[in-house]
């Protein structure tokens, strides 16, 4: 079978890139121990509003300087939509959804996770500087998806 030299080159480059990226993936997972965030628990999506702690979403101070934000992401809002915390606090977000898949990203932070009905997503971040962060839904969730946002106000 005659393979044109350009095609051979293209295949080699593609194959080479594949090997390099697979190697990088293997190194990251096995060598550096980097893993994607795992689910932090399961919940019956139809009983979200009656299962603690999601029966009372909000910001709670669990220990001095440590806060927990229990949030429900539903079409098409975050509950609570506004999160106020003092600067320097370590915050753990625990979010679930009773309806469809949403995403949550808090701007300028590393909080970026999918919110899947039936699962609880947990992400941690320490807010050091006083500023406002936008909370956005980055997974298409219906006709009101582009209205789905909230705010984290660090005081």
């Amino acid at each position: 079978m005659k393979v044109h030299v350009y095609e051979k080159a293209f295949l080699s480059i593609g194959g080479g890139m594949l090997l390099v990226f697979l190697g990088a993936l293997a190194f990251a997972t096995l060598g550096a121990g980097i893993h994607l965030p795992d689910r932090a628990g399961s919940i019956d999506p139809q009983a979200v509003r009656t299962t603690p702690p999601f029966d009372d979403p909000g910001v709670r101070e669990i220990a001095p300087g440590k806060y927990e934000v229990v949030m429900v992401a539903q079409a098409w809002s975050f509950d609570p939509a506004e999160v106020r915390i003092p600067a320097g606090s370590e915050v753990t977000f625990r979010i679930t959804s009773p309806d469809v898949i949403h995403g949550i990203h808090v701007e300028h932070t590393t909080i970026n996770v999918m919110v899947v009905p039936g699962q609880i997503s947990e992400m941690r971040y320490t807010f050091r500087e006083p500023r406002e962060h936008l909370i956005i839904c980055h997974e298409y969730c219906g006709i009101g998806h582009h209205y789905m946002y909230g705010k984290v106000i660090v005081e």
Binding site: L22, A26, G31, G33, P64
Partner: protein
């Protein structure tokens, strides 16, 4: 008939998978005889800011890039603390020129009798590079609990008045500030040095 060329390409891909599996095997099997509990992958270790001898705030996050060894004790400790500190000093001697990759911090859980200057002076008796810090009871409670350590003031008879019972484990953080190793109380200096050498290599 399979062309040699395609055989080669397939072999390359399978080679990658084999290398990955072998890398894992090496990572697991090449663990030398370790003397403490190795946490792999490392667990998050809390940052803190306790008071040092010059009044500044010191915590493990100030020593990123080096291994940080944390021990919780107090200067009036009759046996556990001097023994552990002495062993840590010997381990540092054994490390020789690698010792600059390790920073030992002694945290005093007896702030009433141990001002920062006293803890630091006590720590430096065992090795000049050791640092001693302490803080208020509130700060200490948060720090010790987050490291799985407890301390409790216990009244005793005699001139000492009270002693402080505390966990005797020594904790080792890696260069990125993750908790890597927990040594039980009776770890030997040779064991500590060997484990530190392993962690320095990683």
């Amino acid at each position: 008939m399979i062309r040699t060329r395609f055989l080669l390409a397939g072999a390359a891909l399978a080679l990658l998978a084999a290398l990955a599996a072998v890398a894992v095997g090496i990572r697991l099997a090449a663990l030398p005889e370790l003397h403490g509990t190795l946490l792999d992958p490392p667990l998050p270790a809390a940052e803190f800011a306790l008071t040092s001898a010059d009044g500044g705030a010191v915590g493990p996050q100030d020593f990123r890039g080096r291994l940080v060894v944390l021990f919780f004790g107090f200067t009036n400790c009759p046996d556990v603390c001097p023994l552990t500190m002495h062993r840590l000093g010997s381990a540092m001697e054994e490390l020789g020129d690698r010792a600059d990759q390790v920073q030992v911090i002694l945290v005093s859980v007896d702030p009433e009798r141990d001002p920062p200057a006293k803890v630091d002076e006590y720590a430096k008796r065992f090795h000049p590079s050791f640092i001693g810090v302490t803080g208020s009871d509130d700060e200490l409670r948060t720090v010790t609990s987050s490291y799985g350590i407890y301390y409790a003031r216990t009244e005793v008879e005699g001139a000492l008045g009270y002693t402080v019972d505390h966990s005797a484990s020594t904790l080792v953080l890696d260069r990125n500030g993750g908790l890597r190793m927990i040594w039980p109380f009776d770890t030997t200096p040779e064991g500590m040095a060997s484990d530190l050498r392993y962690l320095i290599r990683r």
